[in-house]
């Protein structure tokens, strides 16, 4: 009986109460429960300026759409850049500048400021609406990826495969929801709804 109970308890713990059989299911459960946050991260953006993302002193009335990229990507990240370019235009058109921001975070340790600037130029990323950045400290980035349960692995062709999708995150790093990369318009609509629902904020 003890062996059965111990086995059941172990399985229960591994699978988040028999609800998550894959890591992505576990991430979805945790995000839905409001239990996932990205730790504060010091970054350098496409203009070489330092910034602190998700810090405790960030303005509370901002929402970010965060994606994970690497500038040498020739497929998914290129498409994602085009999507973010569309969103950037919508943010400006809707008067959401300073309220909703786009954050592209590189997980490739090879990406330097020149690479980030090149990616930014290619997709017309303009600060402060859209920041393309890399972590100052690789160990801090690994800690963020581990906390967010994002795993990036080499794809054997010089690039990476990673899980995670598009994250809607508040200014303090609290992950509100994730979307597939194709559902970027839904992510933007969700971010606007979150701002509208927050007390004291204009829609």
């Amino acid at each position: 009986m003890a062996a059965l109970l111990a086995s059941a308890a172990g399985l229960y713990a591994l699978t988040d109460g028999l609800t998550a059989w894959t890591l992505d299911q576990r991430r979805e459960n945790r995000i839905a429960a409001g239990a996932m946050s990205m730790p504060a991260l010091d970054v350098r953006d496409q203009q070489g300026r330092g910034a602190r993302w998700f810090g405790a002193d960030a303005r509370a009335d901002q929402i970010y759409l965060v994606d994970f990229i690497y500038t040498r990507c020739m497929s998914v990240c290129r498409a994602l850049g085009a999507e973010f370019a569309q969103l950037q235009a919508r943010i400006v058109a809707d008067g959401m500048s300073g309220r909703i921001g786009l954050r592209s975070l590189s997980f490739d340790p090879r990406d330097d400021v020149a690479d980030l600037a090149g990616y930014g130029r290619e997709h017309r990323a303009r600060l402060p609406d859209w920041a393309v950045a890399a972590a100052v400290d690789p160990a801090a980035l690994q800690a963020l990826l581990r906390t967010a349960e994002i795993i990036a692995i080499p794809d054997g062709f010089g690039g990476f495969e990673h899980n995670g999708g598009l994250h809607v995150v508040d200014a303090h790093g609290h992950v509100l929801r994730t979307f597939t990369l194709e559902a970027y318009q839904d992510a933007y609509a969700f971010a606007r709804a979150q701002l509208a629902a927050a007390p004291g904020r204009a829609p």
Partner: protein
């Protein structure tokens, strides 16, 4: 029928670890002859100790090899190697661990654990089966504590499996072993047919190779299980073999 040295043959003929019959005569079956004081008895008694010394060294070498960070990095870095080489190797280490004990200690262990046959089988199947889940593999890559738990539970599963095969009725072993075969086949086919990566830590190609390998391993395990069951079932119920199949001399007639 006893062996020339007075010890009794094992009931199964072959162990989980694929050991030969001569090794199994030193397994959980203490010699009924009571020899040990005479010269010939001493020479026969000394053979297991030299064998155990070599085995302990081999076990330690194998364990240290698996524990080396570069080796672990290679084996854990591929889903196929992780599931088809590393986990079975750690399980095999667990199977071999009780065999390092002196025969008397093994016999005492078997006597003590015989009432726990069901629990041993649960530990063996749950301790290994948990690490066939996609989320488990990813969590071992994210957390050092979970990775350590993996090694500990799979090693324990191997120990439990070895003891369970010695002390459990064969229908119980068939039930649990059969479920492990079924689980391996199911998970293997899932990995092979899934259209997306189920483990964030590994690529699709790796997942498919792991799936095919799991199916192959499960078929092999099923075949071994059937052969083992056939030998056990063939021996059970026959008066002459009741004595031979006793885990302990006092268990004669208890089947």
């Amino acid at each position: 029928m006893s062996h020339a040295d007075g010890s009794l043959p094992s009931p199964s003929g072959r162990g989980v670890g694929g050991e030969g019959e001569s090794k199994l005569t030193n397994c959980f079956l203490p010699s009924p002859s009571g020899r040990g004081a005479g010269g010939e008895g001493n020479r026969r008694m000394s053979r297991p100790r030299r064998h155990s010394g070599l085995s302990l060294l081999s076990w330690l070498v194998a364990a240290c090899l698996l524990a080396l960070p570069p080796v672990r990095a290679v084996l854990e870095g591929s889903m196929a190697l992780h599931m088809l080489v590393l986990l079975p190797a750690v399980f095999a280490l667990g199977v071999c661990l009780p065999q390092l004990l002196p025969p008397r200690a093994r016999g005492q262990l078997a006597v003590a654990l015989r009432p726990c046959a069901l629990a041993l089988l649960v530990i063996a199947t749950a301790g290994y089966g948990a690490w066939m889940l996609p989320i488990s593999l990813d969590l071992t890559r994210l957390s050092g504590a979970v990775n350590l738990a993996k090694y500990a539970t799979v090693l324990l599963a191997g120990v439990a499996a070895y003891v369970a095969c010695r002390v459990s009725p064969w229908p119980l072993v068939l039930f649990f072993g059969g479920n492990m075969v079924w689980m391996g086949l199911t998970v293997g086919m899932l990995f092979l047919d899934a259209e997306t990566r189920l483990c964030a830590s590994y690529l699709m190609g790796d997942q498919r190779v792991a799936g095919a390998g799991l199916i192959a391993w499960s078929v092999a395990l099923g075949g071994w299980l059937l052969a083992w069951i056939a030998r056990r079932a063939n021996h059970s119920g026959r008066a002459k073999e009741l004595r031979e199949s006793a885990v302990n001399a006092s268990d004669v007639g208890s089947h």
